[in-house]
Symmetry: C2
Subunit: 330 residues, 2 copies
């Protein structure tokens, strides 16, 4: 399949997954189509149609079943017709360039392994999120939430996968750091202490343990961590940014001169809002799968859905990581 | 000892611990004295004096030894004369109301147990940090970094200690949450999954698993977590807030109208900076010790040192948590 054909394929979007599905998902998909992306919506046609403006150029694939947010991920194995499975099957069949779901992320991971399969040399899929750094660079954080209670050996594998992904983003020789509570070699929890010498021995540009302040100011391009820790860290960063923006609004409202000041600053404040709305970065790419699968943000606002579709479209143009050189000792 | 006498006692400050010790520590102590706090500086007199303005009302206790940031915490056991030990001994002897060090935090914890001893019903000390929430409330986060690789049983103990501390802060019936990557009961890593039913069974107002966004917007007053996770989360929140403030400055510099706008907004922006400079909240209180011990921020700027001294002084007026009711099954 040539690159042009792939680029022309739609992103398969699970219309039934996410906090305000299908309404917010459909709204996000419509916004993405307006921006030039092709989308195929998968889900209950009767529930999707009411939110679809007449004349919108969106393909629709109907299925009755959907995995709920509170269901165990493994139920997806015997639910061939669940919307998330149908999305992945469309990719498998070459009818979509990528799949995106804001629904049950555990189910998405299980389904991706089942319907598409893992990349060569990969033991388990990992979610990679790309966040903006203060120095203008990008920070690849993985695992952003697919695996909890990971062992040090697994963190070392994540490092290889993260570096491979960073290279697809155009980061030539990515600097890889291990997320820790201190930079010294003895710092970290057991996962980190076990992982450090293992990552050190890999053919990577390893910069050692990195604290969040270092990571967000440019000490590394790839930040490796356990999925519980990474998920909490990313959500904390989002919450902090939101809190600062909220407090800024409060300060602006206090005084007429400040309101005028904010008006004069309004273009800058809008740009700032766009730059720090970390949830608008569209969730994460599921690495270690042979096709492009995007785990959308659980708080699936139309903006977040649109961003996730854009992320899926762009990632599919760059192509998935289909193979990782795995040193035998890991 | 009456409360008035205690309030009049100085805070014992380890002048030799922290990134820019003793210079930044002395500067922070001088600033605290100007704000009306009493301080006794402990450390190498010959290295402290040059930074002490003539006529400053600060007592000085000389000692040659100091534990370095990169030394193993256990070395403090046989270093009776280390500055951090001397600080704690001053508290023990009734010559200081509280001890504060920005140095090796592991050494401070070991020394506090050794020289002062643990509160009744407490198995190990925990660092509690108080962070500002978007709703104007305060969030007690513990453990902020004293213990890594904690078991679920320990998290449950932290919950009791955190609730006791929140009550000393005037929070009557504190809502306690477990930090997790999702609110559902099955979510979390092993620590959290083990801890949840244990905390549920305690005589506490338990609100279940809480994500960072919930915690910072007011879902709970006490957020319980492992020290590795808590430390990373707090540092990520600081880094995110700094990043947003940095980007805000960048946007202001882009355009003349924006500069005028920022000038009109300047009082609000200053207040914002004070509200979101989370490191200015002065580090954390070491809970589970019979006296007040403050773990200062490692990046010990004069502002952070001054804030930590204020935190120590205020905490000593409220008094330490000397006893925790411990259900027998924990």
């Amino acid at each position: 399949m040539s690159e042009d054909t792939t680029a022309a394929l739609p992103v398969a979007v699970d219309a039934m997954g996410g906090d305000d599905a299908p309404e917010a998902i459909v709204a996000g998909a419509v916004a993405a189509v307006k921006k030039g992306f092709r989308v195929v919506l998968v889900g209950d046609e009767g529930r999707i149609r009411p939110f679809l403006p007449a004349g919108t150029d969106i393909e629709l694939v109907h299925t009755d079943d959907a995995v709920g947010m509170h269901e165990s991920p493994v139920v997806v194995r015997r639910r061939n017709d669940a919307s998330v499975r149908r999305c992945l099957q469309l990719v498998k069949e070459g009818r979509a360039c990528a799949a995106m779901s804001c629904g049950n992320s555990g189910a998405l991971v299980v389904a991706a392994v089942l319907d598409i399969g893992m990349s060569e040399g990969v033991e388990r899929p990992v979610i990679a999120s790309v966040l903006p750094r203060a120095d203008g660079g990008r920070l690849v954080v993985l695992d952003a939430g697919a695996n909890v209670d990971t062992r040090g050996e697994q963190l070392a594998r994540f490092a290889l996968l993260g570096a491979a992904y960073a290279r697809t983003l155009g980061i030539e020789d990515p600097r890889v750091g291990l997320l820790s509570n201190g930079e010294e070699a003895g710092k970290g929890n057991e996962q980190v202490r076990v992982a450090r010498p293992l990552v050190e021995a890999l053919p990577l540009r390893f910069v050692g343990n990195v604290e969040p302040s270092g990571a967000f100011s440019g000490a590394c391009d790839v930040l490796v961590c356990d999925g519980f820790v990474g998920n909490v860290m990313i959500k904390a960063v989002e919450a902090a940014a939101e809190t600062v923006m909220h407090l800024l609004k409060e300060e602006i409202r206090r005084h007429p001169a400040a309101i005028l000041g904010a008006w004069l600053l309004s273009r800058g404040l809008r740009r700032l809002r766009d730059r720090v709305a970390w949830d608008a970065y569209g969730g994460g790419v599921l690495l270690g799968i042979r096709e492009v699968v995007v785990v959308g943000h659980g708080r699936a606002t139309p903006e977040a859905v649109c961003a996730a579709i854009r992320l899926a479209g762009e990632a599919s143009r760059r192509g998935p990581v289909v193979r990782v050189e795995q040193p035998s000792r890991l």
